[in-house]
Subunit: 867 residues, 2 copies
């Protein structure tokens, strides 16, 4: 016959799948000799078998439970639900991964009219015994038999009203006995039968309820949302009760082996004497700090310290524990790896390496790179948040916390010393404003909207898609939850939670500890993948260098054009009808460009800088308002109607698939020639200052080797002419972005003409899937909900599709040019899973926003360690 039940000493921590996390840890603690109240675990196998038996406890399982209860009676010397020394048990669910939503806990199971009296004597407190009994009936009725909880509350309230008292604590033993009677009546009315006094009946019913709760809708939704798959069910832990409320030498508490907020190596927790577990959480009595136990019960404290040490050594991680002291005897009720802040995680990992508890590699794997982002941004202080008034919630688009005056445009931001830019949605024209804003709040747009992407790039806090706000642009105000906020009013936004608050809120400062530096040095030691940044301005560069960026992987030249002074020349260029008009406009841009490049090369001090030649989303540059059109017509000395006609002819049905990237470079060759000249001229000037400079010129949106060779030839000609004219040379590279599926498929041909490839996975994802980021919002959420997509492919790189194309491209490119430099510069370059994938498929570097450099480094190191 198959074994479904394991006594605690029959299991161990490796048996999570079968015993659940809780059961495996109880077994483990038992086996390493820690004081754990006896008990057994009904396995997850039993849970799935339960569903084969029409959701009934079948005869064999019942028999096995009975055998184990008997074993437990022998071990404890108590009798289950009878006599002077009754065995009471707790029943707890526990799957292989922690999962809210299922039935949780029933305590004091085994209580009935007889054992409540024995308990009363055991703990020498009649009131407490009856209170336990009352709670047991309520808990059992509620969680096991689904009697609505509020009906119990009504009875309780009624008694209090009758007695004219306010708090539970004022209830007398007699009151409690009365409540128990009334609860039992309620139970009969609701269920149609008497409350079970037979303990075995109570137990079997509780086990059945736990198993059933595995498939209640809350649990199912939780598993779907958290993508928990391949788990066969929950286990049930049946454990003999110990009592922390048996007088002054009894107590109960929770503790961590280290400080979960800071990581400091100190026991951290709290406890209550003469209390049960519930009381610690309930907040009726104020628990004491764990250190005080040293004075009140020094031996117990010593024992506990020893146990902590044993557990940490055993689990090699900080532990989160529950314990009970019953009449001076210490019991461990639970242990598990403790949750912690990012700061604590780093400090603990570094300490544990230095204590010899774990290796550097293990330490690296301990840190969730995503959480590191917290450390790099300001956050609202806990204190500050306590009194803050929440006025809206949107998407947590770019982490950090900011407070400032509400501004609807750039003018306002310039005047306000600190401003929050509030827009329906942003467009590239808002770049200047975004740059000076403290934070950005948008009404429309998702996690990959313009506002979100740009804000992350700037390391600026952003809440996007905050649709409950409605803006009245004329009145310069917005309305949310019945409150009207006017321009100049102060709000605070939290880009890590998506919350918007009224008024100013205190913030915590950023501090990167010595441990953090040590950790990053290990990361740098272990990783193979280089990490560059996407940076368009000297300011970005400075930030990225601070975080250890090893170069620029993507310097977008079109962003440089959005500043007020330059955008008009760009508009002229786009709207030009003749090569001559165009040349005029381009000539105006050249000095700006050269200056931009000079500043960037200077600050990058010889680190490689990949400049992408312009890939303007034409429609974003075009003038929109009448006013703008008029201004352009004046600048160009042509009629307004003429400008309008040209604008109309530039309109594209699918701008994403339009006349852009290298296609523009080919039809308007003056453009790329000017940019190449600006890059090389600037580089030569920087070189003349004795600063090393290594420019890499990148052609965007190449789909055919012939596009690249056509442009390469022209650009080389321009550069050769400069070298000749100045009598000075310079090493430079000329490569291409791979962002069109055809480029992947023909990567061998393209590689012949390219010194490097950089995968532009933003566009590559859009085009490979055949949906644009702007439009996919309408179905992508539903796709994720329906399980068609595991994750949003714009956030985490789609390894099966886009990744497969990348692998194909890499293979083809390397057959032609073994040492071709390969990188990635899409948003994925800063997403940990994607970075690890890039490491695995053999890229040389990833490039991400400056604020994600450290995240990418950690992910790269984790990839290297796992290999």
């Amino acid at each position: 016959m198959k074994k479904f039940i394991y006594f605690f000493n029959e299991g161990n921590k490796t048996m999570r799948d079968l015993l659940g996390g809780k059961g495996a840890n109880l077994a483990e603690m038992t086996n390493i000799g820690l004081p754990v109240p006896g008990g057994f675990t009904i396995s997850t196998d039993a849970c799935s078998e339960f569903y084969n038996h029409d959701q009934k406890i079948w005869e064999e399982l019942k028999e096995e439970i009975l055998q184990n209860i008997k074993k437990l009676e022998v071990e404890t010397g108590k009798t289950f639900g009878y006599g002077e020394n009754p065995l009471l048990v707790s029943v707890r669910s526990g799957a292989a991964v922690s999962m809210p939503g299922m039935m949780d806990t029933v305590l004091n199971l085994g209580l009935n009219d007889e054992t409540v009296e024995s308990l009363s004597k055991m703990i020498n407190n009649e009131r407490a015994a009856w209170d336990s009994y009352r709670r047991f009936i309520q808990m059992f009725g509620d969680v096991v038999r689904e009697v609505p909880k509020y009906k119990f509350d009504i009875i309780m309230d009624k008694v209090k009203e009758e007695k004219n008292i306010k708090t539970d604590l004022e209830l007398t033993t007699e009151d409690l006995k009365d409540i128990v009677r009334r609860y039992k009546d309620l139970y009969i009315r609701e269920i149609g039968e008497e409350f079970p006094s037979e303990p075995l009946e109570q137990l079997l019913d509780a086990v059945r309820a736990v198993f059933s709760s595995w498939n209640n809708s809350r649990a199912i939704i939780y598993r779907e949302l958290n993508e928990i798959k391949g788990i066969k069910g929950t286990a049930v832990n049946v454990q003999s009760m110990v009592f922390g409320n048996m007088g002054d030498t009894s107590g109960t508490g929770v503790a961590f082996t280290r400080n979960p907020a800071t990581g400091t190596k100190e026991i951290f927790g709290e406890y209550l004497m003469n209390a049960q577990g519930e009381d610690v959480v309930a907040g009726i009595r104020t628990p004491k700090k764990i250190e005080t136990l040293k004075e009140t019960m020094p031996e117990i404290y010593e024992e506990f310290l020893k146990i902590c040490k044993i557990l940490e050594k055993h689990y090699k991680d900080m532990q989160d524990m529950e314990f009970t002291i019953e009449r001076g005897k210490f019991y461990m009720l639970q242990t598990r790896n403790g949750k912690r802040t990012s700061k604590a995680a780093i400090n603990i990992a570094v300490d544990m390496v230095e204590e010899g508890l774990i290796t550097k590699e293990e330490a690296i794997l301990r840190i969730d790179p995503k959480n590191v982002e917290q450390l790099l941004h300001k956050n609202f202080s806990e204190e500050g948040l306590k009194n803050a008034k929440l006025i809206a919630e949107g998407l947590a688009a770019s982490p950090g916390a900011a407070s400032g005056k509400v501004c609807f445009d750039c003018e306002c931001l310039k005047k306000a010393k600190k401003g929050i830019l509030v827009r329906i949605e942003t467009s590239p024209e808002d770049i200047e404003g975004m740059n000076i804003a403290e934070g950005i709040l948008t009404i429309r747009g998702g996690m990959t909207s313009h506002a979100a992407v740009v804000a992350r790039g700037m390391g600026k806090c952003c809440v996007s898609g905050c649709s409950e706000i409605s803006i009245d642009e004329e009145k310069k105000e917005f309305e949310t939850r019945g409150i009207v906020i006017k321009e100049g009013d102060i709000i605070s936004i939290d880009g890590s939670s998506g919350k918007v608050y009224l008024g100013d809120i205190e913030k915590t400062e950023i501090e990167l500890s010595g441990a953090f530096e040590k950790f990053i040095s290990w990361v740098d030691e272990k990783r193979r993948l280089q990490v560059r940044m996407n940076a368009d301005t000297p300011k970005d560069c400075a930030t990225g260098i601070k975080f250890g960026a090893e170069g620029i992987g993507l310097c977008r030249t079109e962003h440089m054009f959005f500043a007020e002074e330059k955008i008009w020349s760009v508009r002229e260029m786009i709207v030009s009808n003749t090569a001559n008009e165009r040349k005029n406009a381009i000539d105006k841009i050249y000095p700006f460009q050269k200056k931009d490049f000079f500043e960037i090369f200077e600050i990058m001090e010889g680190r490689p800088v990949t400049v992408r030649l312009i890939d303007p989303p034409l429609h974003e540059f075009l003038p929109k308002t009448e006013e703008e059109i008029k201004k352009l017509s004046e600048l160009m000395h042509i009629e307004v109607e003429d400008v309008e006609e040209r604008l109309e002819s530039l309109r594209e049905v699918n701008p994403m698939l339009g006349h852009r990237g290298c296609r523009l470079g080919i039809t308007y060759p003056e453009l790329y020639e000017m940019q190449a000249k600006a890059i090389i001229d600037a580089a030569l000037e920087v070189k003349a200052l004795g600063i090393k400079v290594t420019p890499e010129i990148m052609i965007p949106l190449v789909g055919s080797d012939k596009e690249l060779s056509y442009l390469r030839e022209r650009i080389e000609k321009v550069i050769d002419a400069i070298f000749e004219e100045k009598g000075e040379k310079l090493d430079y590279k000329l490569g291409t972005m791979i962002e069109v599926p055809r480029a992947c498929v023909t990567a061998d041909e393209i590689a012949k003409k390219a010194d490097f490839f950089s995968f532009g996975t933003n566009d590559l994802t859009q085009i490979t899937f055949g949906f644009s980021r702007d439009d996919a919002g309408k179905f992508i959420k539903e796709y994720v909900e329906k399980g068609i997509f595991e994750k949003d492919p714009f956030v985490t790189l789609d390894q099966e599709g886009v990744g497969e194309l990348m692998k194909l491209a890499i293979k083809k490119a390397r057959t032609v040019k073994e040492n071709i430099k390969l990188g990635i510069c899409g948003e994925h370059g800063g997403e940990p899973k994607s970075v690890e994938f890039c490491d695995k498929i053999g890229l040389d570097y990833v490039s991400c926003s400056p604020y994600r450099v450290l995240i990418a480094k950690i992910a790269a190191a984790q990839g290297a360690v796992r290999k």
Copy 2:
């Protein structure tokens, strides 16, 4: 020393690359014993060497030319440019492929003041001799030394004016001598030296001019336009002159071995007695039909017949020949494969197979599939075109000829019995009108615009992109070349040439000969690839079946929706906000859909029918005018503002990459469920009539296997329910379109869930390249001109990119499901090169518009034969 010159008996027809086409054929004819005037060929190697010598005739080549002239003198018994019996030669260029633009011919080279007298005696016609001399000076001056031709004409005209005569024929010998003198003076004035009387000098200069002309701009442009690559230069043929103008037993002519218009097996051509080649073409005298030679010179005629037979047997193809009779002796001057009409091509190929001259396989390869299209459409008669007034030219978007009343909308077309739809551009709303129009004329849009694609699908004549026309929609008229055409005026359009004429023009009828049927039977015998059609209506089906379509590869359901009665329900469906509203609208569509499917299944009589579930280009369906919006608001009982708001929310930035295809099927499951039900209900009804039916349901735009399995499950459920309800079953297939790069990359996973794949190469091309058909117009032409694209990838499948993805998909799919059925249903399915590629990569079928079925069949057979 390297040999650069080949005497005619040293070459043969395989030496085209070295001797050029003309030289190789002259050598071949010489070697098989045909009477060819002696001569030699200066090779293409010499041409490329010429460019290594600074475009000069270098010493060794000069020496070699001299040697060969001596050899020719010995062979002919004449002396070059001297004495009583002077050797005169023609100098002709001739590259490996025929190529206009280069210097063509200089005749009578070797004439000077001395030899003109000898010639005069030889031909016994002083006037003719001096006329030849005059022509030689002009020809030499013009083509060899670039003296502008008009300057010679001015002299000629002046002499005629002085003599008060009108035609050249009236010029006397003395006049001609005068002209020769004046021509020589002109030559001195222009060139600064005397006209060369030394024949070797003449010859070397002529050879130099031929070689130089290889790189004149006209020749370069011609090579670019016709994609002629990898040819090293032109050869020069130097051949001793024979004279057709030596009296009544001399003559000259051109002939074909068969009738090039009809293919009839009969010598076809014309000749002139006592004339030189030029005279036949010049049109001054009327040439006689070749048959009359039988009476005038029966022996010569017999000899010619024999030569024709030899040449056809030798070249295994119909020949186009030039000949000269000099004093009763017959000479062949040239032979080459003759150009012919499509009709002749078929008849000749079939006849030649029956004559045992060529194999069926060779016959199949002889036909250019593209030209077969001519045979399937009406054309304007030659007679009719002679008097037609051309009023505009656009793109030849869909072949055929049509005449009718100008109509700007559907209303007008309904009233006019025969109407030509004239629109700025068409949209799906025009489908009804396009369907009843005789032909379609649009102002905007290219070869793949909506009008062009739909018209080709309908087999309807269309001229698109006719930008010189400007429409005034209010006045209901258009203007072109200064003419105003009003609604109701009659015009004629030629979709094979892109020309637009005023008034009605007579048309030729379509007739497919018995030979054609025989030819197609061979095609069917040899091909492996099946050919289906893209057809949405019973009318399409009937056409396709007539041309031998073996099923429907693509039945687009969205086109079915454009009829007036249905489009409103579709609009309701799209604009619906709730599942309920949507269900209502969809229920209205169901009966229409079932009827459509019923009719198609019925007419297809068991041939497979692939129905693509709806992939609506949402924006094309949406109401646009105020009126339409109002009507929709009434239909749906909602406010106009409400409709407008919903329309706004449906607006997409990139409709091509938007919420369409199976994405709609997933978010609005009711839609595909209704369609599946309509298909199966209709199929069961057809089956009940005793007609076989094999529906294949196709899901569009799948990019992930999970999309397909999600939909497959739902559709199967619907179908199973029908089967259960009706107690009747039916075989059906459920497959997917492969039109997104990700589908190719993950084809193995997708194949597990699909019974078949159909490559939708229209979208696959757009998405693989990352540019949309609508927007690529702005640069694709320039790409082709600049040589970045060899061909427009929307016309001819891009084998290196899109084709490579297809191969990848096929390989992946077949590893999982060896016998999965694979087809293509993009526009490429009817383009010969693409069809051959589809055969090569192992597809099972291609699907194309009904009118292209035969083209596809021939291309498929050619592919099979070449393998």
